[in-house]
């Protein structure tokens, strides 16, 4: 917990609503959801996700959150086609003093089983998250670290709750309430100190989202039916029933959606599958939306060539090596390898989020996003490096998709073709990788990130301040200070500017080199309409109709 406390320790300014951002991503489309009549047909959807737990206190992963998004309600939630959070189960929410965020609930809320959803439920939910996280009853698997800034939750009256924050004016708190830690649970069904089993939750019908679950077999088949009592910010489900089928093998998922055995496929099809399905326009529609997922290359400042922990430490040369690598990389070729399902990324905050820029585009390569060998040579020569630099690059062979090997093989080929580098490439399986990467195990390594919520801060605060996720010995006090400022900045324009400055500063230091940004993709049968993929990065089944 310490690091999360630290990263929120500098919040200074007063809170306002979350950043409003218009999200535009080249090639993205999202039709508006039909909110009219409820279609009678059941929609079958396939996915390769897997569920860890239905209980929000026991899971912190995309597969479980995808289910929770459909069946639980949040105090704040993201309406369609928007990254903003709006009050959902809440009627309103605001800071009544710098460390108290007060939420007023909508009146007479109930769970689908009739149990009342009141201020006590909210307090129960967050107390429970904290208790289970602290005791380890979640098996170390819960999202409680997202609540690092929450001191305690108190009930004011039946529909009013106060969140007492450790650090004043947390700008991202509303977003946190819409994140995996935020689903409100039924105090009559869930245990306050232990995880509640999936079957118990389903049997008690303790849901309040757009759907309830009619029948449930974990990681095999989940049958959702529309929850008529849903009163959140989203419109009620446009379909009556959705069946989700779980796959392990993405090629089977692809074949089933292509042949019409299922109506839709969401997460994850291989690049080859998507490219092929795009050509099958008579059978399916491929819809892409902005993706929050990013891929980047990390330098360990201690062990990289000329790093502080090597026999020839030299910060200037080390920087020159990083710059030369950035000059030589051809992101478009990497994107082509992924058949466009990943697009080039030129900054730390992905394109589409408020405050994002393309800081690296003008600084490195040919200035237009392409590589430049001359520039790389010039940088290295200027720093006094004449012989080829040996790079040890390690990638995670099974966590960031099946194509990481190809991606890094291409990267190696690009770097070596320049004649400036020799590359020793290693693929390491996930668990070993996750242990070694933050412990000085690898001089250069692959990383990826999927946001907890759609705010630029989630791409900055976890990484660059000391003690963050990367642990690569990068330290720039100016960056740390700006991140603190930005997180508490009430003026939206000013905050966006600060986010831009952070990216510019880090781009000069090259803590990491951003490479690619992933798109969300859903493939639907010809008769299915209404798919919405937006910058909330939550996919809702409720918009689909057949």
């Amino acid at each position: 917990m310490t690091s999360f406390t630290k990263r929120r320790a500098g919040l200074i300014a007063l809170a306002a609503t979350a950043v409003a951002g218009s999200l535009v991503l080249a090639g993205c489309s999202g039709s508006s959801p039909s909110t009219g009549s409820t279609g009678g047909a059941t929609i079958t959807l396939g996915t390769t996700d897997s569920i860890v737990a239905l209980d929000p206190a026991g899971s912190y992963d995309n597969g479980s959150f995808a289910v929770q998004t459909q069946v639980f309600g949040f105090l704040f939630d993201t309406p369609y086609n928007s990254p903003d959070v709006k009050p959902s189960l809440a009627e309103s929410g605001s800071f009544i003093n710098p460390t108290t965020f007060e939420v007023k609930l909508k009146p007479n809320l109930t769970f689908a089983n009739g149990d009342p959803l009141n201020a006590a439920s909210v307090k129960f939910t967050f107390d429970r998250q904290q208790a289970i996280g602290a005791s380890g009853a979640d098996g170390g698997n819960g999202p409680s670290s997202l609540l690092a800034n929450l001191d305690k939750t108190t009930v004011v009256d039946d529909t009013t709750v106060d969140f007492h924050l450790k650090v004043a004016n947390d700008q991202t708190f509303e977003q946190v309430l819409s994140s995996p830690v935020g689903p409100i649970v039924d105090q009559k069904v869930f245990s306050p100190t232990a995880l509640t089993t999936d079957d118990a939750i389903v049997a008690a019908n303790a849901f309040e989202g757009q759907y309830t679950i009619k029948s449930y077999k974990v990681n095999q088949l989940v049958d959702y039916v529309k929850n008529a009592g849903y009163v959140g910010v989203l419109p009620p489900a446009a379909n009556a029933e959705v069946v989700v089928k779980y796959y392990k093998n993405s090629s089977n998922l692809k074949l089933d959606v292509e042949s019409g055995n299922i109506d839709a496929a969401y997460r994850s099809l291989s690049a080859q599958d998507i490219a092929d399905l795009k050509t099958a326009t008579d059978k399916v529609t491929v819809t892409t939306g902005p993706g929050g997922e990013i891929r980047y290359l990390v330098f360990n400042f201690k062990t990289q060539p000329f790093g502080t922990g090597t026999s020839t430490p030299d910060p200037a040369k080390a920087l020159a090596v990083r710059q030369a690598v950035a000059d030589v990389i051809n992101r478009q070729a990497l994107s082509d390898l992924y058949k466009g399902t990943y697009t080039p990324l030129y900054s730390y905050v992905p394109n589409g989020l408020t405050g994002a820029n393309t800081a690296l585009k003008s600084l490195y390569g040919d200035g237009n996003g392409g590589p430049s060998l001359d520039k790389a040579k010039a940088v290295l020569t200027a720093a006094g490096i004449t012989s080829p630099v040996a790079l040890d690059i390690t990638y995670n062979s099974d966590h960031y998709g099946p194509q990481s090997g190809d991606e890094y093989g291409l990267l190696k080929s690009q770097l070596e073709a320049s004649g400036l580098f020799t590359v020793n490439l290693n693929g390491v399986e996930n668990v070993t990788f996750s242990k070694q990467a933050p412990n000085d195990g690898y001089p250069l390594f692959q990383r990826g990130w999927f946001p907890d919520y759609s705010d630029a801060d989630n791409y900055l605060a976890p990484f660059f301040p000391q003690g963050g996720f990367l642990h690569n010995h990068y330290d720039n006090p100016a960056v740390d200070k700006l991140i603190s400022q930005e997180t508490g900045e009430t003026d939206a324009a000013k905050r966006a500017a600060e986010i831009g400055q952070i990216q510019d500063l880090v781009a000069k230091d090259l803590d990491t080199i951003p490479l690619l940004q992933g798109a969300q993709v859903i493939v639907t049968g010809k008769s299915v309409t209404g798919a919405v993929l937006d910058a909330s990065f939550k996919f809702r089944y409720a918009t689909l109709t057949k």
Binding site: N141, L255, F469
Partner: protein
């Protein structure tokens, strides 16, 4: 055919008791092996949260969960749990291990039975045929076929079969154990058995069973041919072996036809080694199930095992391996009993 004396039957009981008691150390050795092997490869928290949490937070969670304790302490705790009959709850999907074993075990069992049926239907007649026409070109073709059956990796033969029958000809489903609608109906039964053959009948829907069987064809053939190749080879060798014995020569001199010699006289004694091998085949079938189930989305133990392994789900992997060990040990025990009953020389 065995001549039984009183001494021999006393020896048999003693042999069976010893043989039965040996099952326990077998399982114990395997479970211990898996326990230590799994622990040195990392922990489930790093597996699931290592790509998301900062290292100190990760270390904190690992400490709370006790995965940083000395491995021998963890082993003692584990044995204590086992003795109390607590097999644990999986880490990566929060299911009691007993549920995991019954849910996925029944699926694997069903697949194994189908595969054995295929293996018998294909392997035994072809093996007899090969013995009948031994050392002729037809025999050579059958033998090469047998080798192709058992030497082609499942992930390649499965892919080819799927390509031909599902993608080109569109006659069989791509993957899964049943269509979604049928599966939903079975899921909504009270107390589904997990064996789709039975559940399909219980739904009362006449279309359910054909649907389930259709889905079973490709996985059963893929896995079954593997064993069929071994059966073919085994039947051929043993039938030829018995054809050369004096007993057959005697029958032949009595004027018994060659066809009848192979199918009746030579086949029955040749069955003994085949029964023995079936025991060993169970282990191989279960091993082959990992790849077959992944190829065809067959929700069985093998399908889950790879997932649990990647998640470093100690509890699940230990449970599944222990179950496999029990099955293999029990089947081998039964096979040994049969072999001992038939041939007294087997006994110690």
């Amino acid at each position: 055919m065995a001549e039984k004396t009183h001494a021999a039957s006393g020896g048999l009981i003693r042999y069976l008791v010893v043989r039965f008691l040996l099952i326990f150390p077998t399982i114990f050795i395997l479970v211990t092996l898996v326990f230590f092997l799994m622990r040195v490869t990392g922990d489930p928290i790093t597996a699931s949260q290592g790509g998301r949490l900062p290292p100190d937070e990760l270390a904190q969670r690992i400490h709370t969960a006790g995965y940083d304790q000395p491995i021998i302490v963890q082993y003692a705790q584990y044995l204590g749990q086992l003795l109390r009959g607590d097999f644990g709850t999986t880490y990566s999907d929060h299911q009691p291990i007993t549920t995991v074993l019954t849910t996925y075990g029944t699926a694997t069992l069903e697949l194994a039975v189908y595969a054995l049926v295929v293996a018998f239907i294909v392997g035994i007649p072809l093996g007899m045929l090969a013995a009948f026409i031994r050392d002729r070109w037809g025999d050579a073709v059958l033998r090469v076929l047998a080798i192709l059956f058992y030497a082609t990796p499942i992930f390649f033969s499965g892919l080819l079969l799927k390509l031909v029958f599902s993608i080109w000809l569109h006659v069989l489903p791509v993957a899964g154990r049943a269509s979604t609608t049928v599966e939903l109906k079975m899921q909504e039964l009270s107390n589904p058995t997990g064996i789709y053959f039975i559940d399909a009948l219980r739904t009362g829907d006449p279309a359910a069973l054909p649907d389930v069987l259709q889905h079973a064809i490709l996985p059963a053939v893929t896995l079954g041919l593997l064993t069929a190749g071994i059966f073919l080879r085994l039947v051929r060798t043993n039938v030829i072996g018995t054809l050369n014995t004096g007993y057959i020569d005697a029958a032949r001199s009595r004027g018994v036809g060659e066809y009848r010699l192979v199918t009746r006289h030579a086949f029955r004694p040749a069955l003994i080694p085949i029964i023995t091998v079936i025991g060993l085949q169970i282990a191989m079938l279960l091993g082959g199930a990992v790849l077959t189930e992944t190829t065809f989305e067959w929700n069985g133990l093998g399908y889950q095992l790879n997932h649990y392994l990647q998640a470093r789900d100690f509890v699940a992997v230990q449970g599944i391996v222990a179950l496999l060990a029990v099955i293999v040990a029990v089947v081998n025990f039964i096979v040994d009993i049969i072999a001992a009953l038939i041939d007294p020389r087997v006994r110690y």
